[in-house]
Symmetry: C7
């Protein structure tokens, strides 16, 4: 089915960064306020200026990214739970 985000939106697959406490207890990321890790699945065509000029985004499919804890909207695409967010929600590119 696929999904093309619009304009400056980005489709992201969450990467579960599990962390273990000293005692080996897995702290699900959701319990902490830390930014989330993810991988870019697809990107929009870019930001449109008021005069219609399109500026491509700085992230691309395959990039590993960090994004704010509460960023994005959950969507189901081809049966997979993914996230749609704006490029401005992305803090940076890992690696």
């Amino acid at each position: 089915m696929g999904f093309r985000p619009l304009h400056d939106r980005v489709l992201v697959r969450r990467v579960e960064a599990e962390e273990k406490t000293a005692g080996g207890i897995i702290i699900p990321d959701t319990a902490k306020e830390k930014p989330q890790e993810g991988e870019v699945v697809s990107v929009g065509t870019g930001i449109k200026s008021e005069e219609g000029k399109v500026t491509p985004l700085d992230v691309k499919a395959g990039d590993k990214i960090l994004f704010g804890k509460w960023s994005g909207t959950e969507v189901k695409v081809d049966g997979e739970d993914l996230l749609i967010m704006k490029e401005s929600d992305i803090l940076g590119i890992v690696g």
Copy 2:
């Protein structure tokens, strides 16, 4: 009768994405926070800049789209319940 949305507005027909739980109970989409699926019926002429320049929209009639749960205003056109929303409410194009 027909209806031409103004400027950057889009007329959308909801597509009911019914999901069944394991036990076969249908969860009406409205119960969940997930974005809604729809089909574009007609689009406005585009976004007008302060100087009057018109930039066409990136969605067109027939596109399958995902949009935010609370986006749009309900309208009845030719007896059918449809939605009017802004292009900026649309997350992306399916397919």
Copy 3:
């Protein structure tokens, strides 16, 4: 007496879209959240940019329109109750 709206304002006459329930009870539109129907009576000269450039509006006298439930301010012109609203309150043109 007449009335010329200023800039991007539009003078509108309400069109009462009565709907009957199955049992024939008339549901006055006001009871529901649906957008209202109206007819454009007169329009302002257009939107003025910061530099003074005027861009004419996309609606004109005689257009049938849909507008948001709570849009506009009531005014009495030549004894008739009309509405003054901004073009940006208009969802689209019917027909």
Copy 4:
């Protein structure tokens, strides 16, 4: 003494539009939410853009106008109670 409004401000004299109910009771306008009628006394030089360009206003002294119920600030000029408001508070020109 006189008074020159600054920039996009307008000096307005209220015109009391008294309305009588069927029984002849005068409903002072203030009791209703309807826009107010007034006459333009004097206008500012115009709107100044960020670059300093001045665009004259579209209303002039003598125009009969309708303005929002709560618009403007009361001032006393040469002993007369008048209103100072912005041009953007004016809904349109009567006549």
Copy 5:
């Protein structure tokens, strides 16, 4: 000592407009919501655009002005209590 307001700020000396009720009781202006009268003492160099262009102000030292009741910040300059406000707080020039 003197004081040069910055950019679009204006230094103002209050002019106490005392009004007497029929019985001769002086109503200090502060008790009413009416705009205040003042005299311009000195003005800033003007408004700076984002590109650095400076546009001189439309009021000058010596102008009698009306300004909003709650406008400005009190300052003591050379022992005298004055007000510093923005040009946009000034309603107009008297005379």
Copy 6:
């Protein structure tokens, strides 16, 4: 150690303007709402426009200034308690 403020920020040393009541009681300035006096220690390079153009500030090191009571953030530079604020917090230059 020194400290270079960024962009349109200004480093300021407070000047304690003590005022004595008739009875000689010193009213520390902090108790009153009056603007504060200070001296500019160092200034940023200037305001950057969206296109990257830098416009120098209008205040410079050594200027005596008045600024709003609650403006600025306290910082310790080389062991001295100073204030960092934006140029837009400065009301004007004394002298």
Copy 7:
């Protein structure tokens, strides 16, 4: 692993500025409202204008900086707790 901040974001390592009271009690910085000290680890490519023009940042890797107490979001990069913030959160450069 490394981490490239996006656009006008900056990756910062906290520098713990411990201060001792007279009695030698260490006041952890967090207890006070003072700005925090840090060192820039890496910077984004710069601020993008609406037309797509990129303006490099004024801080670079290695700069010692002061930033607002509540600025930034905590992230773990290569096992180290760092902060991601916008350049506009940085008050200035130390030294």
